[in-house]
Symmetry: C2
């Protein structure tokens, strides 16, 4: 991320602090080369080795308290107005800075709900509590999750333009895959074909290459979040692929479904079409439920209920997540009220957030039907960033 | 890291658990694609999206409790004997597993001292405390720092062989840099030259490319941990470069110092030679103090005192750190007893640990003299993994 984009995000953060009535936001980290707070790239733009505090205030001040050896680097990076170097311990400078700001509400980088707002490790939390002992500040800490959900969630038109480009380039690869799939090729060979395209064009991967793309052919596959195997494409298979690129710092995340015609077939069997259509229609129904102010789990329920009402099992995951600089980005999550999702399903949706919609169902004996589209929330509803798949792609042997 | 190496490290962990009298070690994580516990690559080998517990017991059992969608992937990766998938919440399966093991001491991935043992975020700590509420286990948690310091610190001969290779390949690039440096080239151009060599040979960078290499020419440079600038090499400059590669999963980390002769000079001015020699000799003295059982800060003090006793300012950092899969690896740190280093300077050194030795001093008006060597601790002292620089490299214009 370049300096100008970081300064832009910091200004956006100041607006959010004012909107939420939070006096300052502190990201407290160390050794980000070993374990990196997910916000560092967006609001700092370089690594920190020793205990470091990156502070943004409601009044628009930005302050970095860093080990003295990193002062020069912070100046060169140029993303913080005030750089306070320390030699032996961060404590004194941090306390002095807090006294000067005297914040009533201090948002800190921890969250039970959102991994993106949870970069403060527990050891560093204990360090911070020690530093704040005997001061009034320890009782003023709150989670930064609201700030981060807003900051990462609300996309500017410039960000959306890049994300649309990324989607176009991703769908080009999906189209090329349609030309490549044929009986006898393995899931791994399809993935290798995709790697070739990604690397020849200089894109990055939206998530770990190990399962980017994920490719699943036929019945009894590994299911989501597994890497491609040596399983071969056969006539009568439903195939799906989950894939995204990283392009100019932003991720795409899409899925498409194919069917491999058997000898004599000119179209898929009825049960395949039926499964495909239920997924396709559930996406449109869910998209209609997405608008500013909608509650995330209610959107998930629309697709989930539509699918189960047609006699299929419910999908064992959420309907969709936000996308941005990370494939799993933002706060609110279109997911059921399951404990593992924390409060994210209870959040309300906001304008300018980008969500995936990705239900799935199993077509017994054939494979898994799943599409994943990306939508952006506008004032009155959604705009599809990806042109939705409306018909199952056919592979003719 | 491949499966065999992960299984090897897990076996080593079981030995360490027995040695330290710890019943089980649990690494508790989520969304490792967003923020990754530093041990995941070494003991798991794939990402985890939902609340996941990776457990290794003193009796040699390995158990992964993961979101059901990741069961298939964990089976394919094959690094855990038992995989327990859950749908809605990790709680029930985690408690059941704890009841079966009934551990008295549970090492968990948090640490005030070591970032490598501190992958548990504070939000996830709060989640864990909720899960354990009302059970006897909450009071049995200890930091995993001792396990991780041993596991990452103790290198096998196979690991050392790779690290030696990495050093040889790194020093080849340093030699090529000696041929490239001349008055008029900038720090950035030297870095670009290095990038070219690294990429043509397919190596990785030991730390962020942004300052790998770091290059500093002449007086008043940015100092350590900053990226190269447009500053030009001039006659009369002392130049230093900090650089390492990632090779077969292991890092090198070395520094070398050059002097650019001025017209008429055939050797550096006396004050340059004196500064260089003080650094060179302080490294040898510190190396002699390194042996199993030595206390880390005492080794730092040897070099620190030698340098200040010669009238130079003390270096504003530790003398050396461990190296391994990460450039800053392991537990014990050769550093002074400054608060920012936590307990790491108080740890004792162990056989088979690899340390850097990297003191620095400023030669007023010329630049910074600093060398960095790598040593491995043997039974009675150290073996230099890098052949130490004994004379300042001369650039003849």
């Amino acid at each position: 991320m370049n300096k100008e984009m970081i300064l832009e995000k910091q200004r956006q953060a100041v607006d959010i602090l004012n909107e939420k009535g939070i006096d300052m936001w502190m990201t407290f980290v160390r050794e980000t080369g070993n374990i990196k707070d997910p916000m560092i790239d967006m609001i700092v733009g370089t690594n920190a080795t020793w205990h470091s505090a990156f502070i943004i205030t409601k009044t628009g001040k930005t302050i970095a308290i860093v080990g003295s050896l990193e002062e020069a680097n912070m100046k060169i990076v140029g993303t913080y107005q005030t750089i306070i170097p320390y030699l032996k311990s961060v404590k004194e400078d941090l306390l002095k800075t807090l006294e000067e700001i005297n914040p009533n509400k201090i948002a800190v980088n921890f969250s039970r709900n959102s991994s993106l707002a949870d970069g403060l490790t527990h050891g560093m939390y204990l360090e911070l509590m020690d530093i704040l002992e005997g001061t009034p500040y320890a009782d003023r800490l709150i989670s930064s999750e609201e700030i981060i959900a807003a900051l990462r969630g609300r996309k500017s038109e410039a960000e959306l333009a890049i994300m649309k480009e990324a989607i176009v380039k991703t769908l080009e690869i999906f189209d090329e895959v349609t030309g490549f799939i044929r009986p006898g090729v393995t899931e791994k060979e399809i993935a290798e074909f995709v790697f070739g395209k990604v690397e020849e064009r200089g894109y990055g991967y939206a998530w770990e290459k190990e399962y980017c793309p994920s490719v699943f052919t036929g019945p009894d596959t590994a299911g989501a979040h597994a890497g491609p195997t040596d399983k071969k494409v056969e006539p009568g298979h439903v195939i799906n692929m989950d894939f995204g690129i990283k392009y100019k710092g932003y991720c795409s995340d899409l899925q498409r479904t194919w069917y491999v015609l058997r000898p004599g077939e000119t179209e898929p069997p009825e049960e395949v079409l039926r499964g495909f259509n239920v997924i396709r229609d559930s996406i449109q129904l869910a998209a209609k439920a997405i608008k500013p102010g909608a509650v995330a789990w209610e959107v998930d329920a629309v697709a989930r209920n539509y699918i189960t009402s047609h006699g299929y099992e419910e999908y064992p995951h959420g309907l969709g997540h936000q996308v941005g600089r990370l494939a799993h980005d933002g706060g609110a999550l279109l997911a059921p009220k399951w404990e593992r999702y924390g409060n994210l399903p209870y959040m309300t949706l906001e304008e300018s957030q980008v969500f995936t919609i990705e239900p799935r169902l199993t077509i017994e004996g054939y494979g898994i039907a799943t599409m994943e589209e990306e939508v952006v929330i506008r004032k009155d509803g959604v705009e599809f960033l990806s042109p939705p798949q409306t018909e199952i792609y056919l592979i003719k042997p």
